[in-house]
């Protein structure tokens, strides 16, 4: 089975995440890491690989030079090869453009399964997976908390899984090839071991620039984006509140505060 897993480098959620007021884009100068959900997506891909002998996992990212670390980390976990889509011409891409570039890189490579995170921690659009299913013309099984792939002997395989919804979950089934997005419940990501880290350095990473992808010239780059950010305003920090130590009456005091604030 040929599996692609899509990983994204994001500002570390533990850090101070900022939007640069001058470019109106996410400030990536601070700590950046592979998005936690994508480590889980890699784990899901490796579990499918382990259950289907002869499988191969390609990790794909679109991002600046530093995003190579996200690929290396995935390779250290056990992925087999990488694809790094990198070009200054992609700076400032919106989701429509990002999905176009990713689809162009994936297209024609005959992946049976593409696995992504359900939503990124910086964009949180949850749009790229659905857009990719649309662009690639494959079945969409998204927001999965469980994933089972059966390769099928001589015939097309199937994918099943539980899709998380606000009210519970639904069970999904489709034929391969398919696009899957996973939620954080899918699996705990394994830690790369020493051997994995060493071998990751030798695994092949293909670099794709704008010119390597067949994308219409007038569609790429911030100047041609479908969505245009007009204005960014930082929310003022919350001003300090009243903090009390419980002296045996704190419960009553909270009720008094609620009443005084007309909240009860």
């Amino acid at each position: 089975m040929k599996i692609a897993v899509l990983v994204k480098e994001v500002p570390d959620t533990w850090g101070d995440r900022r939007i640069d007021p001058s470019t109106k884009r996410v400030d990536r100068s601070g700590d950046v890491v592979i998005d936690e959900i994508n480590e889980k997506a890699v784990e899901a891909a490796l579990l499918v690989k382990e259950a289907n002998s002869g499988s191969d996992v390609t990790v794909v990212t679109m991002g600046p030079a530093s995003a190579l670390d996200a690929i290396r980390k995935s390779l250290a976990m056990g992925a087999d090869r990488g694809i790094h889509i990198i070009d200054d011409g992609f700076t400032g891409s919106d989701v429509v453009q990002t999905s176009a570039a990713l689809a162009a890189a994936l297209g024609g490579r005959d992946f049976d399964l593409v696995i992504t995170g359900n939503e990124s921690t910086d964009g949180r659009s949850a749009a790229v997976p659905a857009m990719l299913a649309e662009r690639l013309g494959v079945a969409q099984l998204t927001f999965l908390r469980t994933l089972t792939v059966s390769a099928g002997v001589g015939s097309a395989g199937t994918v099943t899984g539980e899709r998380v919804t606000a009210e519970g979950h639904v069970e999904l089934r489709a034929a391969l090839p398919a696009l899957v997005s996973v939620t954080e419940q899918i699996a705990e990501a394994r830690y790369p071991n020493f051997k994995g880290i060493m071998s990751a350095k030798k695994k092949p990473v293909e670099v794709l620039a704008l010119a390597d992808l067949s994308l219409p010239a007038g569609d790429t780059g911030a100047d041609n984006s479908w969505s245009v950010v007009a204005d960014v305003t930082a929310r003022p920090p919350r001003s300090g509140g009243t903090i009390i130590k419980d002296d045996g009456t704190a419960g009553t005091q909270v009720a008094d505060f609620l009443a005084a604030s007309k909240l009860i």
């Binding site: 857009m131 519970g168 479908w226 969505s227 007009a230 903090i243 704190a250 609620l258 009860i264």
Partner: protein
Amino acid sequence: MTQVLVLVELVDGALDSSTPELLAAAAQLGEPAAVVVVEPAAALAAELGAELGALGAGIVFVASREGAGSQLVTPQVAALEAAVAASGDVSAVIVSNSTDGREAGARLAIRIDGAYQSDAVGIAAADGGIVVTQQAFGGSYTVTAGTGRGIPVISLRPHSIEGAAPAAAGTVREIDISGDTAVTTEITARHEQTQVSERPSLQTADIVVSGGRGLGSKEKFELVEQLADSLGAAVGASRAAVDAGYCDHNMQVGQTGVTVSPNLYIALGISGAIQHRAGMQSAKTIIAINRDADSPIFEVADFGVVGDLFTVVPQLIDAVNARRG
């Protein structure tokens, strides 16, 4: 006036609770038109026309497809695409920021070569077109965005628009999606509870009471529910509480859970890690009860109690009940 299409989701044949708000948002931009997919057997087109007309839809585009109820989002994408073509003059498409809505919207944007703007908390018509307001990094930033090209497809966060659309004709127009060739995913079973609980839903509640790892066990987590019920609130949780199995995953508030901005948020036994705060820091008033005075949750609390939640909360419940009489 140009039309603004709204994707109407059906739950067991009834309109999803997001519907009035979506039509109200559409009415602020143009003439609302509803788009809905039904099973042929349901034959409720006339009824839907009346219901959606009362909520503001001038036209109700109805697509019927056998088995649509067990196909994931692709029938909705096809119906929206067909409605855009049938209307001929669409200035925007609005979907709910639900799991299904946002994905149908994202796919539609690709199909009609439109823009996609996710999780809008505000939508307005401006000189240059339609401008959406979004929040970034858990409400740390407010972003406004317009459309560079194409029809904007906008997913709207529930509970962000006030008011209702004036009633309109609700004229039913059938649209044909039989030519749709998208590869389908089959929904083989549903395990969903639609509003069995008396409690308000997490995303739209005025008051949210959340519990964290400090609750200690699934049994003791009931204290969170008791306080919530005395206040008529929804119940939320931290990821640590969810991971420990105290409550269901769809109650998780935060970076990778639900974003809430209620009038009142009460955090019980939650340390207030940055990823939790990303989901609740835009609440109007925040109350925190935690025995560790150094917990970061106190940095965002309007009123904080350093104390044991197992003594403070029962007293609070009694005091609330006493005031309520």
